[in-house]
Symmetry: C2
Subunit: 294 residues, 2 copies
């Protein structure tokens, strides 16, 4: 297989979870991939300064940094710790995007967090997401970072993310400048939504699409539901209409492949990346244009 990597394909680091940042950069470059979606843990493993040097030397664009959020706890020390952690994540995002090649985007992906322990008060948890955004936007704006609210599949609403649809994410973003608060369109999380295409169009109209991420929906759902994603083409999602909608909405940035899957993680990183390059070419028909410089 010698498929050329799509010019907008970005390798989200979670797809090769067990690789170090150095290894990820090597396999991405070897495969002709132009961009990387970083994760905080492997960046922390080498330290932010060293990570920025590695990114700078790699010639790769940075498409997003994963992830902040988890700010549904009520006021108190746990919430303060979460907010401080989000401030560090904003700083990391700005630093890595500045180190990346032209076309890098300073996008911090935010996963809202689930219901606090022993709480069934979904409305209040959702309200605290809005409060957290309100608290963080000034710092994000000053750092030139776009906070990107990622709606997660409703099966994670209790324990991981109380933001469950793209429409809800857009509603949460509404009070804020789109340059500072956007949304993530992740195929795995939103493919089922009867309102999806309306929401993508609305997101585009508001210039709020911060990231388009792709992976497939497998059945049966994995025993660990977090690991139920597949490489594109292995599941039930038709990436054609969604990619066309994201294109039509004016999103011209990189498209991240983000697959959480134990079998994928158990494979050698280079083999996974080769597979991702092929699957993207075959199944994800986004416009074949280089991203507009950021």
């Amino acid at each position: 297989m010698n498929t050329a990597a799509h010019p907008r394909l970005s390798l989200n680091q979670a797809t090769v979870k067990h690789a170090t940042l150095s290894e990820v950069i090597t396999v991405a470059r070897s495969a002709g991939i132009g961009a990387l979606g970083t994760w905080r843990e492997p960046v922390h493993d080498v330290g932010l300064d060293e990570a920025a040097r590695m990114v700078s030397g790699s010639g790769l664009r940075i498409s997003s940094h994963c992830r902040g959020g988890f700010f549904t706890a009520p006021e108190g020390s746990a919430r303060r710790a979460a907010m401080d952690d989000n401030r560090r994540a904003i700083e990391e995002t700005a630093t890595l995007a500045q180190a990346g090649a032209p076309g890098s985007r300073a996008v911090l992906v935010l996963v809202a967090g689930g219901l606090p322990d022993d709480s069934t008060d979904l409305a209040s948890a959702r309200g605290r997401v809005a409060d957290a955004l309100d608290e963080l936007v000034a710092e994000a704006s000053a750092a030139g970072v776009q906070l990107a609210i990622e709606p997660l599949h409703p099966m994670y609403a209790a324990d991981r993310a109380v933001v469950s649809t793209l429409g809800q994410a857009l509603d949460l973003s509404q009070p804020f400048d789109p340059a500072t608060v956007g949304v993530v369109v992740d195929s795995f999380h939103v493919w089922w939504d009867p309102e999806l295409f309306d929401a993508v169009a609305r997101a585009g109209h508001q210039h709020r699409i911060a990231s388009y991420q792709v992976s497939d929906w497998l059945t049966p759902i994995a025993a660990d539901a977090l690991l139920s994603r597949g490489v594109m083409g292995d599941g039930h999602i038709d990436f054609g209409p969604l990619s066309a909608a994201v294109d039509a909405a004016g999103y011209t940035g990189d498209v991240e492949v983000e697959v959480f899957n134990q079998d994928v993680w158990d494979a050698p990183a280079a083999a996974t990346v080769a597979r991702v390059v092929d699957a993207f070419a075959e199944h994800v028909p986004v416009a074949d244009v280089r991203p507009v410089l950021g």
Copy 2:
């Protein structure tokens, strides 16, 4: 525990999956429960005529019959077989509701079905649900049966039900008389939906709430995702706001407890029913009025 059963509590037969119809009737009556939601398989086990005699002799109301649907296949023999099966289900629903005590409702719960094998064409599958309703309404109306579209949790969109939200179910019902096409509000399937309360109000305004079913959302999701439901109070759903919304929407019918859960199924039926009676009293604050006679 000697909690009196709530006057609107209905025992959905799936909660005591391994009990025969005769056993279900016995345990429901012993627990002071006034209504039953029947399933097709245990009715078929004794035959429809005998089932109707048993229901008639029981003094129980019938709150719904589960289930028809599974009509997303493209035109051909599989689709014709599914439509014929739905016609039989309509007849069963009418017969059982006539056999039930006053206040029985001739409601046939419809689960849409998933994507056909090897198809990723969600829009077409959804279109075929609309086609199926269009084909069945005349017979349902003639039989005095209300077809009740049940939106299933989006985690089942690929393999079980392409109808994923209450709003979508209402859109599908829109062309038809509410007496013939309604919707099911099942807490497990819809609790996460940011548009839920608007959709419940809309459903009430249109007189389309055919059934309110309750069970809880457990985490982690069970290895078999179909069996991830819990008894109310064991999971993450707040039944207060939802029950208030269903009350405010004008629904005065029975409220079915429908729990698919291996541990619940493994318990003796009488113990499960006692547990259900207690949990309903503690966690499901629907108005304490007898259902309006149907």
